[in-house]
Symmetry: C2
Amino acid sequence: MRIAVLGVGLIGGSIGLAVRHRLGAAVIGFDPDPLTLRRALEREALDRAAESLIDAVAGAEAIFCAAPVGALPRVVAGAIAASGADTVVTDVGSTKRGLLDATSGLDGYARFIGGHPLAGAETAGVEESRDDLFDGARWYLTPTGHSDGMLFDRLHGLIAGLGARPQAIDAAAHDREMAQVSHLPHVVANVLASAAAAESFPDGGSRPVEVGRSFRDAIRVAGANPPIWADIYSSNSEALATEVDATIEGLREAVALIRTGDTDALGAWQSTARDDRRRMLEADHSSAPLVELRVAVQNRPGTVAEIALALGRAGVNIEDMSLFPAADRRTGAISLWIAGEPEAGRAAAVVAGLGHTVAPVPSADS
Amino acid sequence: MRIAVLGVGLIGGSIGLAVRHRLGAAVIGFDPDPLTLRRALEREALDRAAESLIDAVAGAEAIFCAAPVGALPRVVAGAIAASGADTVVTDVGSTKRGLLDATSGLDGYARFIGGHPLAGAETAGVEESRDDLFDGARWYLTPTGHSDGMLFDRLHGLIAGLGARPQAIDAAAHDREMAQVSHLPHVVANVLASAAAAESFPDGGSRPVEVGRSFRDAIRVAGANPPIWADIYSSNSEALATEVDATIEGLREAVALIRTGDTDALGAWQSTARDDRRRMLEADHSSAPLVELRVAVQNRPGTVAEIALALGRAGVNIEDMSLFPAADRRTGAISLWIAGEPEAGRAAAVVAGLGHTVAPVPSADS
């Protein structure tokens, strides 16, 4: 198997290392920055450094576009255009809707499936790439009704093979969720840091202000990598603006409550926040034994994406997946491996709700 | 020397341990909760557990009121009323203006000097008290023009003896600073946690949402100890509301910028936040050799507080202080020890600006 990686920073380099060490496949990399490309080669994240994007993708079965968000539309379009009909193209960008819109008119767009691994800091370089960067990490995939099911299956398996936990999600839902749990905290951190600095140093100077852990945490991500984050804010501006508006509304309600000075009501508000925090941080228990579900499907376009997205929406994780097309390629079966009987039961109900026939496969030792 | 500690949780217990181990003084403690009082005794934070507040403060040269913010006005009033004319009374509460207002009409209020050590979590108990809890920690003191200078000097020395870095600050400035760097982050964390939970689990249920480090950090303090934080919000509602309003305004500007999607402007905004974050977190370098400044003063009431507050406003730390009243008790001298020549120079200018004569004292080895 041959894999192409376009953009070989921390994420691209780590994909290269994981593919080489865990899947034993050959990795061809390209980066517009010759220094980065040489470092990735020195780090042994690549089998070969390509001369160009076209050189890199020739003969690849999967292409990972790991460029900054702002460059992705161009890189993905180039990858689709330069690769063959059996090549799956994916990316690792932090926002998905804009990229999907940008690629949806292209010849071969059914071969593009957006992706986003929740791993790695945007600020690090290829020197810090590791083959275990994705171990246990969520890796979102955003197939659409037009996505090629066989290629989605291949990509899903590849990503699980890198150690990550792939999950299908609608691109718009992905962008909303990222706006909320990643982009919004950056915006809030910026606002807190700048407001505090303006008040603490009105003359523009700086004297030590005593800053405790709560404030340090609150502004930790303020001003992170400006060019990268400007691209992220811009590419997700609509969803992010909605989240910022919701935060403004929440602060308005909070300030009205604070002005009352009512300790009972403030205590109740604090308790609600405690419960909400707990709900947000509840652990994801997915180490139960795997259950295989066999789904009989009409192998029409979009079925695989439809099933994966429905399970993603229901919060069910597909630990592994296999497609078994019948000889006519019109019908077939999909095996889904789900962790634990309760989750598998939920998954079966979701899939049956889509009109498919689904049944658990007895495990070898039962 | 004998010290009284009223309220023997984490902070009160740690004061007891530090006073006993570092100053070799006797510590008498009282707590309305008999179990807490017994535990403090078992932890050897006290020489003796008193039967009552009045029993605890008898013969004490300094009284530390370490009760929750909501209970402080009552405890401080009791401590002032029950103690002698040469006893300094202080507290360790997170907000200062309300307490100062509550005590300002009392007989003997010149002996009360508000305090606030920036150390210890509100949630911990006496079991976690340690004699090094205050090592290197800022410990704010809020003397006023009415404060007794000799007692301020004694308290300043005591607190430095516990390992902390005392600094005088105006009570209103203290509350504004705390609103900004401590209380506001809690309010924002609450709002982020509750908004995210409402959107992620609209049906009130919970499914695992992928939450990265930026969001975990952003909501770490959400819902902290509800009764204690309700008291803090309530006792600092005015300053806190001002900070929340400023945050709302900052978010309004941010969301307008985000809606433009202008990557250049967003990048510039991100860079400003990076610089502001750096200014807020810049290290406080105070390990330079100490310089002694001798100030000749008219020993009128309020002079010591006036000097300490002016230096605090200028960001100058007084590492140590000594008062030398003349026999007439109307004039005298104050020695101030400041870390490093540049800081000492700034301090001398500030003190001279108040109309005092000030001169460096040659060190023994120069």
